[in-house]
Symmetry: C2
Subunit: 575 residues, 2 copies
Amino acid sequence: MASKPSIPKGTRDFSPIEVSKRNYIISIMRKHFEKYGFQPIETPSFENSDTLMGKYGEEGDRLIFKILDSGEYFEKATGDKYLGEKNFNYLNLFTYSALEDLFKRVSDSEEDLDLEKLILEDLIESKNRFFTYLKNDSLVNYVKQFIIVNKNYFHNSIKIVKENTLLKNATFKFNFDTFYVGNFLKSEIYADFLNGLKENGFNLYEDLTSKNLISKISEKALRYDLTVPFARYVVQHQNEIEFPFKRYQIQPVWRADRPQKGRFREFYQCDADVVGSTSLWQEVELVQLYDSVFAELGLEGVTIKINNRKILSGIAEVIGASDKLIDFTVALDKLDKIGEDGVKKEMIEKGISEVALEKVQPLFNFTGSISEKIDKLSVLLEASEEGKKGIEELRFICDTVSKLGLLKANLDLDVTLARGLNYYTGAIFEVSAPKTVAMGSIGGGGRYDDLTGIFGLKNMSGVGISFGLDRIYLVLEELNLFPETVTTSTKVMFLNFGESQAFEAMKVITELRSKNIKSELYPDNSKIDKQFKHAERRNIPYVVKEIVDGKFTLKNILSGNQTAVSLEELILELQ
Amino acid sequence: MASKPSIPKGTRDFSPIEVSKRNYIISIMRKHFEKYGFQPIETPSFENSDTLMGKYGEEGDRLIFKILDSGEYFEKATGDKYLGEKNFNYLNLFTYSALEDLFKRVSDSEEDLDLEKLILEDLIESKNRFFTYLKNDSLVNYVKQFIIVNKNYFHNSIKIVKENTLLKNATFKFNFDTFYVGNFLKSEIYADFLNGLKENGFNLYEDLTSKNLISKISEKALRYDLTVPFARYVVQHQNEIEFPFKRYQIQPVWRADRPQKGRFREFYQCDADVVGSTSLWQEVELVQLYDSVFAELGLEGVTIKINNRKILSGIAEVIGASDKLIDFTVALDKLDKIGEDGVKKEMIEKGISEVALEKVQPLFNFTGSISEKIDKLSVLLEASEEGKKGIEELRFICDTVSKLGLLKANLDLDVTLARGLNYYTGAIFEVSAPKTVAMGSIGGGGRYDDLTGIFGLKNMSGVGISFGLDRIYLVLEELNLFPETVTTSTKVMFLNFGESQAFEAMKVITELRSKNIKSELYPDNSKIDKQFKHAERRNIPYVVKEIVDGKFTLKNILSGNQTAVSLEELILELQ
């Protein structure tokens, strides 16, 4: 391989500095997660396909990375190598194999064999060969019945083969293909056969699609998010788990999305969820958790936006159409940009009635403190039972958070916040980066009342939040908030002047390391210039040049200062 | 989905306690890696297939997990849906499609059309349709030439179709299949065709294997180890890297191995490597690094076994056959069990001569200190230049390590150590768990002189070691060496007596968390018994029952002791 190697699009290598910065963020998240009583779990990178498929909508299914089964699945799937070379259509394979043997025996024989008996024998054998693959007795039965009913047709076919010189001169395989592929597949009988299959729930043509092929050669898929594996974990381990269960999970997920700036095919999710309690104290805690993580990261001006699915349902009731809800919130979100008239124009264009707009008029002047906003909502959603429930939840969360106080973040009520509308049932969260940074959401979450229902465990309410590691990284980078210590690696490098001096250096290095001072020996007795350059390029702040009579010539690379120090002084300086 | 969900075989869920214990080991490794000047990198979970394939031998290739390309690759690969239903063999598809159109036109016509001209026109069209898929002009040309040369044959075929009533009654497709599949594929001409293809570098039958199919539907694969991705990283980023480059990497790898006790399909590797220097100081440091990690983990009695590829080469020279080297080391390794006579018997059975055995007689009494062993080897390998070089390297490493001293581990020379014989060129390491634990190697490594050569960057010597996380975990577990603090999560839980008391509790919890005390509120106002049980099951050591007049009733769950304390006393007790 002569060309420079590369990595798949949408993936990244992380350099030492990048790993250190990412680990800095992760370690702070981890610390706060644990302070709040969340416990870490980890799940496998790949799950059984049926755990993931169908959980993220059709688009999601498409974006799940599937893993090929290992081994010779292709040969395995088609029974043997010969068949493997013919056709991947497993139904054809099945009937083909059964019939091929049969025709061969009948056409080779001079006697008039009992075709029906032979068919049955062959089918039993074929069934055994292919059963594990077909996994479907009724299909086998259908094919069997079909052949028996049409046995006269097959008799005639064989007769023709026997009588036709042109055909007889060719190999048996030729004969078989003639009648099987030519007549059986293409004649009206074949049309009958297809119809019969369809009526019995099989569709020969629709069967051979990528989706079906995938289901035959792949049974595992890479994790698409952490929520579904968490739900699977909870159900699978329900007897070992003490509920309410507060778990956090920091692991990569994979999506076959089209890569673009800031969107990757492999990225970390950092989730904290509680499952098994509907208590609103959890929503309160999650707001505090966001605040305490971002505060320790030094991020000022973060806004934690909150909304409630029930309030959105209430608004949908008031505007008279739940299918217009997204149009409504998207338009309303533009209030700052295009003004009240512009927003209303857009809403009407989308089919929301003027009467409805009058009813939600307060939303066009939706300013003030959270409690003022809640008061406005109370009036607006007076007629909606669900809306009122949402307001009650929101009021408790916001009042309590406000009384407990936040360190640095702001909490704000945003009725246009409609993320996760398909699964969130209560609170909805989203965190915005400080306004000085052009970056979308850096976190989000919400409550879903039936987290584990997809795996058969009902009545398990869950609420959780997620931190967007990649975006938080970019924000900290832009605001220069990574502490310098994060990226300093080795503290001191000893120059190498050959074996005996290197040995003296290594004795001291061993001592320094035992005191947790990151230290290195330059491994080769190279030119001193080269050694110094190495320390500079590595951002190693100190170099020990010489060791004479237990005194170390210590050079500060940045300042250029050079001093002779004792071992004790060296340790003191470096610690 | 009603049945309880599960995870793919060979993978694992990690519970909070397991994650905490694993992170404890990882954090100690990380700390020591950095103390020794190693810097972290991370590479993507999947690499381009050609980065991985062919790097681990044929067996390795088989064990690499391949990822399916996303999208409708199947339909894409076969040109269109109709063809997709027919046959996956792309070569057949190509000729099939070209010929089908052609035969149809000729057999439908009453005139004698210019077949050659038609063939050329059709081939151009077919070529355009399939070209992107075939990506091979010479194949197209070959097929074209073949058809032109054999045009008389095709003429005759068409004549037969036209004259034969039986065949004419069937659909065109039937006719075509008869001659294309029957004659063309099966006749001597077809044999010629296949031979011609082979001579031109195409093999029709060998083409349709799982391996070829995989290459068409998968271009990415999960990381199999950390070494090859590291080599790829070094070559790809060679201009940004300051050499010698000391990197560590702690990430999962995936192998489609048959799962069994202690062998998983997803597991972590923890590697430290230096690349870009041949200095033996690195081998010295790696021995120290092993020692310092295992010492901090509290593991006594770890043995770091060392050998050298060059010594093994020397022994192979002396026994007169390098292909017998593994037989030799495997037999020699049984010395303790089956005695000198047994070992020699086995060696002779494997075809090693008695003369050779006499020459290596010292290895049958290979005891004593490392330097005694080295002296014995010096005599034994006197005639082998490479062997002598190996002894020299070994002597430097062992002498230096011995003079610098190890904290807890033992270093031992083991000439039967022959791991990684295919790639290691110098030192070979393996770490054995303490003898009290029945566990194989818990680490290993060595030097390879041409780490990055596979990616086109020559003369980059590398040396590295790996820690076996799973096995180290099991050893610590068996010896009860995990500190208790590793698994204690929440320190104190406040009982929940309803909203107003819960609010008072949450105020204090917020205060405690700001002092990094892991604390929780029970989220629901449940029965007190239930709340206490939750604390017990979660191993939370303290519960705050009541808060009255700023005094907290603190109960120690283990001792049952209960005291009323002030906030300051509470903090003091919990910190």
